[in-house]
Amino acid sequence: MSDLVLYARAFWGLLIRDTVVLRREFIAFAVRTVMNPLMFVFVFTYLFPKMGQAFQNSHGTSFGTLILPGLIAVAIFVQGIMGVALPLSFEIGVSREIEDRVMSPLPVSLVAIEKIVFSALQSLVAALVVFPLIFFIPATPVEVHVDSWLVLIASVLLASLASGAVGLTIGTIVKPQHITLMFGIVVVPITFFGCVYYPWAALHVIPWLQMLVLINPLVYMSEGLRTALTPGTPHMPAWATLGALFLCVVLLGYTGVRGFLNRVLS
């Protein structure tokens, strides 16, 4: 029992440290979080409609409505890469400064889990920051409708944790000198085939691709948010997205923690 209290205090200490560091780098955090959705929304849902080139799908939903969940999912996803994978890869592989946290009086696996938890907190903040941008900027109306708050909260939480787990896994596997390569090979395809800019159902035109993208965690983040926020657009059922996100958290979380232990203990 007293061990658990000590572990909890150490864990809390790690969270405080990360919070202080994040607060200091808030500008960087804000820029990497806001710029992409801001530019995207401005060009495609403000400029294009003004130019008379608005996209619209057959159901008559505006492009703004269609991409709102996707862009929030990307904002959530990016935190895992930028906030965890990048710094972790450096701290493990180059500076070795992660060692001071590994020497904290708690099981090393909890140091890794703290990374996931803190990344998830960053993702939540990112989602809140990005939402108003995507909601208010588009020139055509964006229709948001929450049927079930439970599904929304569960989707956002699981998506955030899954993003942290992806970040931990990548950060422990990819060597710092390969990080830029990883962006090209992993992050770019994940975002473009993450059902961000189109619903998964629309991929039925290319069946093999529709099946292939199912290995992409971002698909379930986007579709999950689509279910929760814009039920008017085609979307996967809630049980499917929530179940898949839960599996992502468990499997990638496990892989990430194992990878972390392998890297920091010899």
Partner: protein, 350 residues
């Protein structure tokens, strides 16, 4: 430096506050030091470490070592001897292949987190948190070890003063020189009041002045009752600083004891090194050995090493025997280096 207040029973000390007594319970060193003096603080039994890989490396091959409380123990050996690996296992960072290590009675494999609470660690390389200032490094370290915000803050101030770092409190650690970074690392390592401090090659890369300052702080820590285990490949450092030394080479402890005991084990006061270049005279060694007053003759790097107690009248005879090929002669008092040479036939620096 005011390290004197570090572990003195002073009412401001963190372990006297109710909260931290609850927190540290028995583990607070002030309250347990007397009960546990009999027990070795470090006990290493049959330690073996093989790094797996395409070519497995046997870094440590069966080490037994004990360190008593209050000792300043030195693990001396050349690069690649297995010093860091041994320290790595003691500090829970490296998993042993076989054998056991206990720190203050806690098994480092079965209870690593608990063992970490009893030890401070300064690894071979700088592991200061680069995102944080000097003060934050110590403050967060205290938070990890369960201190409240107030006590962590107080402890950080205290340590910054003790280590004369107060002016640097707000400096980002990436701007610190090697010597200063080292000081911050030591201050941080002892911030949670561990009973034992592990220092892996603490003086590597330090300028001579910082090295002396480091030795000073280490001696002060010992005076406060903290046990120190350090590794080094400088024999002068082991000799000048440590009460007990173990010489390690190729993952094996060759000998251990006080520096005086080790030097006595050589059985000679001085070593004469004859540099002979590439010439090889098979007659030389037996003829030298036959001389009265010569304890031993051994082949050296580019000549021979002669162990003697005194030089009285020997030198002319030796030079005569060495003949025209003799290029240079050097004479040295027996040091830990001599001990190493005697045991391995190699120079520590080779």
């Amino acid at each position: 430096m005011q390290l004197g207040v570090l572990f003195a029973p002073d009412p401001d000390c963190i372990c006297y506050t109710r909260k931290s007594r609850e927190l540290f319970g028995q583990n607070c060193m002030h309250h347990t030091a007397t009960q546990q003096t009999q027990q070795d603080i470090v006990s290493i039994r049959g330690l073996t470490k093989r790094y797996a890989g395409k070519v497995p490396v046997d870094a440590v091959r069966g080490i037994d070592l004990s360190v008593e409380r209050g000792e300043l123990f030195g693990l001396l050996g050349p690069n690649g001897a297995g010093k860091s690996t041994t320290i790595g296992v003691c500090t829970t960072r490296t998993l042993p292949t076989a054998g056991t290590v206990t720190i203050a009675g806690l098994d480092v494999v079965r209870t690593p987190a608990m063992a970490r609470r009893r030890m401070g660690v300064v690894p071979q390389y700088n592991t200061l948190d680069r995102q944080c200032t000097v003060w934050e490094n110590i403050y967060f370290h205290c938070r990890y070890f369960g201190y409240t915000s107030t006590t962590a803050n107080r402890r950080a101030q205290e340590l910054l003063e003790m280590f004369r770092l107060s002016e640097r409190a707000k400096s980002p650690v990436r701007e610190l020189s090697g010597g200063l970074a080292q000081r911050v690392q030591i201050a941080r390592a002892i911030a949670h009041q561990p009973e034992i401090l592990f220092l892996d090659e603490p003086s590597a890369g330090l300028d001579p002045q910082s090295r002396l300052a480091l030795w000073d702080s280490i001696r002060q820590l010992i005076r406060q009752g903290i046990t120190v285990v350090l590794t080094t490949h400088y024999m002068e450092e082991a000799d000048a600083l440590c009460n007990r030394v173990a010489i390690i080479d190729h993952g094996v402890i060759l000998i251990s004891g006080t520096p005086e005991e080790l030097k006595r084990s050589v059985g000679a006061q001085k070593v004469i090194h004859l540099h002979l270049g590439s010439e090889n005279n098979p007659q030389l060694q037996p003829r030298l050995t036959a001389l009265a007053g010569i304890k031993a003759v051994e082949p050296g790097k580019d000549g021979v090493r002669i162990f003697v107690d005194s030089l009285d009248g020997l030198l002319p005879k030796i030079i005569e025997i060495a003949g025209p090929h003799l290029k240079d002669v050097s004479i040295a008092e027996t040091t830990l280096e001599t001990v190493f040479i005697k045991l391995t036939g190699r120079d520590l620096r080779e």
